[in-house]
Chain length 331, copies 6
């Protein structure tokens, strides 16, 4: 698809114990790099969309390694800024059966958190862009990150670039003095496609509803520029076995996707980002229900792949939507 | 069992990504060597049958490594010929959940495809042999491979050696100018035990039936030397979860096996070859239904083992047939 | 919990093939160290209990490595004795689906089997101890091991230390001339908490009952010092999928635990020891039903962790008992 | 440096046994991708030069993986063409002491060998380019590869792009009917910077001299557009220990570099390409002797790095030239 | 030896690329834990000395893993404090030949840097202690770390515990507002055994001498409690090949050690700490020259072992001092 | 070469820590199988000689894995006997620099030590054999092993099979009540080619000479059937760097080989066995000095290869003898 998408956000080094080793027992980590927004960008790049990610990396070999990872994953990296500082990290322990998976973050005071972004010329960044994607993690990191995110949303909005935002409320962040309601409402007000669950509505939009459709309607009333609201439903039977489906509010009705049984999960981290990417791809491509189905199928496939990034093709996602070549041996 | 089986066919180097890594993300391959016919031979050798495999390897360290693998797996390698050329390869990516497993072949112009086989003294090869096994892959590779296969089948037939053939029709092969129907019918006509599904009947025997028993009867009419026809039924719920059973036409009735639920597949490549080997073993050993049950149980166990080769014992297969020691912890 | 537990028994080097590799195909072993009693001790140490293990190691680098493992796992190692001799070994092959897991022991004539224990001052060992745990493996190893176990049980009994024993009858041991009934009854008679199944009752207590409650009552009649008898019920659907529950006879009634479906087993070795540890912890802590539930939940979590040792926290076990945070992604 | 370099040539998958494992003993390969010209491009890209590589990859996941590798290594991949076919391979066994390292090629009939290159618009490719680099491997592969190489050299020559060529005569190639002297002289005649040893002069330029300087003079007489000729001198004390130096004929004199003692070689494959890249970088940057010293130092560092690609910085090379920070621990 | 040593300092997670992989090329890290002072403690514990390390770890699974590492290495961990915060990290890339090894630190704002130490009862810590060891890294980390170090030195001094200090001046630290000369002189004044090179004398003691013996004399004049001053001489021929020797000023003369040729360095990180530990051990044990020789030999052996910790025995060090069993195959 | 060699002796599982990891730090072992005599056999099989090894393996999966290893290595395994019992083990830690390599044996009471060998029909074994090789390890293991070795030597002697013996005196063995001088002289008296150093002469032949030639002469006087006596000279500069040469007494003169500098040793275990195999090969092939040179060169190459077995070709050894292709990169 001949489109261009811009994403913004922190990328961290992900250090995962091999197999199902616990943190306390492992003497080895596998390394990839991930972040909610970059994961979205990588999915889209894999699907043939021109995608640039805006971020800051430390000005050392760790930063270079991260840059090489982004290039390997297909991103346009011209808007990666190198600064003094440290790269944020997260440690991943893969659960099994009843034992939960765990993530330990070590991201405070990172190069991205301290990045003031004054070098970024947003008009240049958005030149030729069709879509901008942000998440609620960025404004939660630091005052400067919130400022950068706001500048980006404002610029995209002014330039008529379609905007998606994954609210992604995380209680453990937001430690720099601001509360979500200080910042998120303004960002959401300029956003066209929103991923939000009921907790997100509550904490970031001050919408207190038990019913998802009601919450969507209220959100749209508050923020008329919102065109779509979506979320996934995950049924966690165990760390190895989840059900997954999605819903999409398109201003008129709440569409529901097929529901998938994910019986042998390999790695669920990045599953939500794969959904977001699928939704962007699907909405860029065409029809609402098809977009929703594409999003869920993309997310399902992500759960079969180690790491944050969803290295699947458009064909693989589309075939899963159609129920073709599912779980076969393809020669 | 004091029997001797001869197999013929190409052996390739198998390069598999570790765990569930995708081709695009892996920087390491695990190496084994496999081929439909050699996989059968290895199973039989593991079960105590004297087994020699006829093939050609490149005259270099790759060929030597492959030879060492065959010896390690228990085969008599006196009929492995070393020639100038390249070894065929296949790359394996192990799927999970809804994501399919994938094989990429790189086998064209291999040392086996170019091997003329003039050195092979088939009378010597079949001396003392009780059984010869070939598959439809060999005549599909090249004109010379088809010639070798024909010579082998003719010699075995003349010498009264029992012959099995796994039709194994593959659309991607057959690129050297001949069509299956040019060659396969003559080979099948001299074969006593045939593995074929409906697609195989269609493409290689010109038999167009919807019903398996009807197809078997027609095949036996066309080729009176056929004594048994068999196939497996695989129910692919996902890449991680399949059902498996088998049927065996013995000229009188269509026997059906127990059906197995394979809920945590480790590696399904070679599952059909394990079945074929089980059927040969079972028919050499005794009674029809027992042979069928042994074949299916052998195939089920293969799905729990990494690699193409089915390193299980007769005891392990027999116990699964009887439902003993299934999924326990044996001390 | 401010308690002290003493355990006694052989620790072996465990050599496991990686993933689901078979013994005959693997060229690598992963190393940990385990033994029924030390596995219990490690669980308890992880849960904050002061735990010392009494054993003998070879006076070489293998013994030192084992010692370092025990320290890493949190045990007080002051009662580890270094002697000339060899460390016992066991080789573990992890099954999948219908294929069973296998253990091959190489433990005869080990440094522990030959250890006379004359150096052990049991009064010193039990100073400040609340509990002593032994298993039926120790008296089955050698005459000297049986002697040491008897001395320990006698000393603990005299000093008023609570005693638990996991009967754990193993037909393959008991090769030094004595039969279980020669030795076990005296040990059991001084034990307060017994893990035994019907086979254990038969072979080690000469109690022949079909009904578990009846067996418990008879055992208590024979041995009035027994306060609790317990066992697990394992439903082996496959090597990858088991059901698990437990029962606890408390002298009055046979309590039954919740039953768990373990659908993606990572490693079941040590599952019984995790149960035993859970029971000790639970009984030290409080109420009978809660102790039983804690034991089963601890054992379930063990099945998700590679190796013998159950590296889980009290919180993780307690949450599973309550059904909280089960199979989630915890950030 | 604000320059742009274009390179052309086949890239193969490199499969290396780990450590010092022999081909016959290894059951694992490490994967990277390399080729004489791409190795040069990767060095240059690491040094901040805009570098595009022209090649053809198979239209499958293997080709995609190779593409991702090139992007990771920093190349502009817009001129990578995807076609039906197979990727060429080479297998690497790392020697030690007196035991030589070995490469087994499996590159015949590759997608690049069969690529006709008609899609390539060389004017577009060379737009903005300062330098074009080719090697004698490309015309040795196939008639079509020779054609593409000739088209590229002609176009670059016409457009005034500086041209370097590494003659790199390989007896095992040149199997498609042409001899080096049929093709190479025309290519060399338009080349400005030539890497050639005495054997190369003999086989590809019909210059038969024992003295290097004499050969250089004769070559320049024959081909007046040649400005520089260079080669390395390698003293192979063992597979682990080599000496290395270089000479550069600049039309006036034969400059000699410092000589390095490489006492603990990690991987020597790609050492010549690192030298070539260093020479291009040095000549783009400045003075002749400095360029030569930079080239040798770059090559030396390559020998300390696993894989074909020379992941070192300009600073690291420059410091080695100056003898600063050599073999230290940098914090 | 029946002695007790206390050490104080930060411990970081060390993440090392495998083999000679560069940071930019590796997708795996090996994990150990290290710190200048803890490395000393681990050496001493391996040599049979009772050793407790005082530090702070994050109150999460990373901290627990680090704790388990210390226990495995033989330390008394009762003075490890668990606090909210992050563990400091350092990334290690192992050089080869002319290519330097590299360390990237990510230690700012760590749990240790923020630890106020008010919980530490230094009198209790030093009860029964014979020796206290600190390094100049601790006062360089943060104001609170400097405070803790000062408290420890003061307490040890008052209690008559022998004190050693490795000055270890690092320009990159000291970022919290204080200069070395603000703090170090007071610490050194109470120290009995000092490791310092000429740069350390300059920056931390304001002693500007070119001659080592002269500097030692001046230091002793300034700080009469100093009994010994020592340093190592390292001759870095390459990253793989160093020479090593040591000198020890004992107040009377400058003793020189044997000089060692380290021709195949495996890992030089921790080499200085191994020397420090050797010196403490040697001075606790006996005679000055013997202590110096033990220190250098211990450091040499460290260079043959992966990781920071020097897992060698007293026998191994002593034999190297005597030139026995050097580089043999011991059965 | 069209010859047949028989070897006899115990084969153990070798468990090696990876890289230069110490026993106390490693959590993984690499597995191969080796033994002094089988190592000789594997070398010879690699060089095209028909070679059968006589031994006993445990009747379990460990024994099967060992058998598969022997087949992989090219041995005729028809004289491998499967018995109840345990496989002997040895643990290998690879030294570096001044740090020695270490082997810990765990071979007592193994299946081979307890094997009575009554099943062996030595006449059948030696049918068509040209050479029999034994070592002094076998009679040192147990009374039954000594008996088997004696039977084999006697049978070979009677049947006119050439006999070689590697005296290989090991103080740690010989624990079953006999002394070397009780048994070795009779075995040596029937041996034609003897590997012995001065210590071997002393302990196993009661020959006490300081001069090697004098010892050889005395040995030949005592045992007139001895035709050749040989030994290697190893100069252990460090664990990573040795010198190696050999001498061969042929009844007339003491031939000396070229001397090799082995500067980057990968694995020295099996170096002596590689020498022995080279000597057998060389003496079967031809001239004395050539045999000696072949033996030393074979041993040198072994030091570059991980594991006990010397996977090199006749060409590789011969080229090293001639100084061709030494330490190059062969394409």
């Amino acid at each position: 698809m001949n489109k261009r998408v811009i994403t913004l956000g922190e990328i961290m080094m992900r250090l995962s114990t091999p197999g199902h080793e616990r943190f306390v027992s492992s003497n080895q980590y596998n390394i990839v790099y991930g972040g909610a927004e970059a994961n979205v960008a990588i999915s889209l790049a894999n699907w043939g969309i021109s995608t640039a990610h805006v971020t800051a990396f430390p000005n050392n070999d760790i930063g270079k390694a991260a840059l090489q990872y982004l290039r390997y994953a297909g991103l346009d990296t011209q808007y990666v800024y190198f600064e003094e500082g440290r790269m944020g990290l997260y440690f991943v322990e893969n659960g099994a059966m009843q034992r939960s998976s765990k993530i330990i973050y070590d991201r405070f005071d990172s190069v991205f958190a301290n990045f003031d972004g004054d070098k970024i010329d947003w008009k240049a960044v958005f030149k030729g862009a069709d879509w901008f994607h942000w998440t609620g993690i960025t404004p939660a990191i630091s005052a400067s990150a919130a400022k950068i995110c706001t500048e980006a949303v404002n610029a995209a909005s002014e330039l008529g670039v379609k905007i998606s935002g994954d609210i992604n409320y995380r209680r453990n962040l937001w430690q720099y003095g601001k509360q979500p309601l200080d910042i998120m409402p303004d960002l959401i007000a300029k956003t066209n496609v929103v991923i939000a669950g009921l907790t997100d509505f509550e904490n970031c939009m001050d919408i207190h509803e038990q019913d998802y459709e009601a919450a969507c309607k209220k959100a749209q009333e508050k923020c008329p520029s919102i065109e779509y609201i979506s979320t996934t439903h995950r049924n966690s039977i165990s760390a190895s076995h989840n059900g997954l489906s999605g819903v999409l509010w398109n201003g008129h009705e709440l569409l529901e996707s097929k529901s998938y049984d994910m019986t042998h999960i390999v790695d669920r981290v990045g599953g939500g980002d794969a959904y977001m990417a699928g939704l962007i791809y699907g909405l860029l491509e065409g029809e609402d229900q098809a977009a929703l189905e594409y999003a869920v199928a993309a997310s399902v496939l992500k759960h079969s792949i180690p790491g944050d990034a969803n290295f699947v093709t458009v064909d693989e996602v589309s075939q899963l939507v159609k129920g073709e070549n599912v779980g076969k041996l393809l020669r």
